[in-house]
Amino acid sequence: MTTAETTHDHHDEGSYLTPKYGVMGTIWDWMTTVDHKKIGVMYLFAVLFMFFLGGVAALAVRLELLEPVRVAADGTITGQLFGPANPESIATGNNIFNRLFTLHGAIMVFMFIIPSVPAALGNFFLPLMLGAKDVAFPRLNLFSWYIYVVGSLFGVFSIILGGVDTGWTFYTPYSTTTDADHWRVLLMVLAAFVLGFSSILTGLNFIVTTHKLRAPGMGWFDMPLFIWAIYATSIIQVLATPVIGITLLLLIFERLFKVGIFDPALGGDPVLYQHFFWFYSHPVVYVMILPGMGIISEILSVHARKHIFGYRAIAFSSLGIAAVSFIVWGHHMFTAMGELASTIFSALTFLVAIPTAIKMFNWIATLYKGSIAINTPMLYALSFLFLFSIGGLTGLPLGALATDLHLHDSYFVVAHFHYTMMGGTVIAFLGGIHHWWPKMFGRMYNERAGMIGCVLVFIGFNLTFMTQFFLGTQGMPRRYASYIDEFQTLHVLSTYGSWILLAGFLVHLFNFIHSLVAGPKAPPNPWGGLTLEWETESPPIEHNFHHEVLVQHGPYDFDTVVPPHCDEREFPLPETPASH
């Protein structure tokens, strides 16, 4: 257990969570706070709420696909779950299905997964891990949260008004012509446009913070890898997001004023839209995964008590991925482009696989000769390695031209990006939440419940999405409300998987609520971490640290340093002093 041994004096300064005013005053205090921790927590609850909304839509989509829609010779419709009671055609029901999957995609991408790790955990831990008091521009930070909320409200209003059926990609000319008599499509596009600003401002803030606010003694290569990941992410956010902003504005112009940019009926080019869209949306794939990779580097090293293997390789591969991510967007369009462009983009795509593969080897090598604790964060990190490997490797047949022409826009793609986005980012996010939960809220969660939840999520996830690889190779296209009989068995299994997944998430939800209400108080450094956030209290005091932090050891020197607030009996050092 941890002891009271600490070099700091204990001031009677309360934690950032201690309410200082009455109920209304506390709400006002949170709404106007410039404290990065409070803003991080507000982001956390906001993105988790959006995850809930998007998740409900996903469950509805899976439920509809339990049975294929059939029209008998006499016009009777079977297997349609959503739709009017006595529909005259299956179109009305399919239209609802199309709105559901668009809702799922748009919410999960724009409102959940892009802000998830950077804005929630990044906001909370980037300054703490740098030993700073706050981010460089605290007011801008609060402003970006409000922009996020406004953008999300636009999206939610669009859904309340009936939702959109464009797919999250808003491909033209479908998106410029559908629901022509209504402005909810504009509202959803505007939501994505506004959310982009939140993303840019957060990225800008983090870049400046990383450059200027590192604690004395912390050089670039003394930074935790989570910071490197967030830093690389921020660069992509700042550089790529303006492109989607312009693209979405052009889309709005075309819908409102019939300016012919993308719609061939007006003299435009629909493939131009796809180029613009993926020029942003491909780099953004790495905005989604890089922070998750950062979390995994932290969890693996702390819970295996090993120096991360190949620190520089991981740090540089983050930057390498960020750089290469800008020149591979064309691989979303092999079925839409000419031979030369397709060949070049295919070659570049394999280039981006290399730094990712390097990271994977480094993480596994980190476990070698460690002292590996099996707890919820570690189970999630191991799940990440398992699922993200599958996600990455199934990208190979999608990057190769001959095979992609078969697999493009099939369930194989759906499974592939869920293995990377959900099996990667969401799993890492859940691992990160468990890893840092004691620090954020000052309470421990129930370890057994956490591990049960993780196992359920792992099983449910694989059942849901593994089946979809086979659906895809066998010929099931994505975004289908119905399918031929041959595909039903795999669809049924996939839907069962989604229910197990739901059970896993519910276990976590109750575990978190139980922890907040009745969890045992968390020590400052429950895992024996060496990064700076573990030096302060749990939860941290309002100004983060009692004194200015002086960095005297690396973030992963587990072989030579007794972790702060920790006892050498719990986290013993190896006998021979480290020679490396």
Binding site: V69, N94, I364, H406
Partner: protein, 383 residues
Amino acid sequence: MTMPFSLPLTTLANAVPPVRVLPNNADGFQEIFFRTNGQTDSAVWTDGLFMLTFWFSTFFFVLLMGLLVYWCIIYRRRPGVPQKISPSHNTPLEILWTVVPSSGMLVIFFLGFQGYMDKLVPASGALQLEVTGFKWDWKVSYPDGTQTGQTVTLGGRNDIKVHALPEDTEVSLRLLSNDVIHAFWIPDFRMKMDVFPNRYTGYGFRTPVLGPEDDHPEGRYRDHWVFCAEYCGDLHSEMAAVLRVMPRADYEQWLKDQGSSGDPVIDGKRVYSSMCATCHTVNGAKNIGPSWMNLYGSTREFEDGTSQIADDNYIRESILNPNAKIVKGFQPQMTSYQGVINDTDIANVIAYMKSISEHVEQPAEGEGEGEAPASETDAEGEG
């Protein structure tokens, strides 16, 4: 050579024609992934590349996960026992695990490129089919202008349109969309291409050679699904068709059966089945568009409050400029068929609509038409 690696490589080597591609000679993992092997030479080649990539990936996956599980067991935390000291980096090792997978990926890229060019470059003298995608069906025109009127029930779905192809023939598809982007995917041929409203795309393939295993009670043929793979709206998932590969003699006969019957009502019904049936019924039920039953000659009430009797000119306008007048209770969903349908077919459609309207005096032998969708027997039955 070990089994997993010899399998795909020999498949690649054997993919040189003439190899008769059986309906199913897939086994093991290939059968789990694809159910049946690819049905054209280039599809067989693609399967080979996919399986090669699969075994390449499986090797690294099993290696990494094996180490992960093994180390998690032997190095699990024991109270009071510290981790052991080991290097935190190793440059030769890191170079090795960068170079080896990268070289593998280089091979996969080149093979992917090779198979891609093979799929794209059409053979000379191929049978050229014009494929038009529209919401929500495919129109396939043969060189002599023939279009299909035949439908089958397949995979649990009624009214799936059949397009015949001769066996062992180079076929080239020219794809164009009439509205939004679609994609023409033939999973058995492992090939798809987007279908755009503003420019032609296309691809070619050599149809398989049939054998005794393709014999059915109705004759020798092999069916291949076509799905729309680019999201296009309400009935995206219904935008399916079947390519039926048959012996050349059967194919010639089929083409004749699909050709003009000399009776505009029957030809009009065939146009209806091939282009209109997705959105318009002929039994009075409302679909995306109004039913054609008793439409001709009736008074049409429009969204803007005006009305008009449905005569020849109204029908023509509704086909070529469908959004000029929107019938009450419907959405402006239909796109123009200008350039998709010719004048003869418009006249045939009008004749067919007349034949199913009570507002038109019916000739004695025309009674009772219009309930059943057209089928291949119609051509002989009514000629």
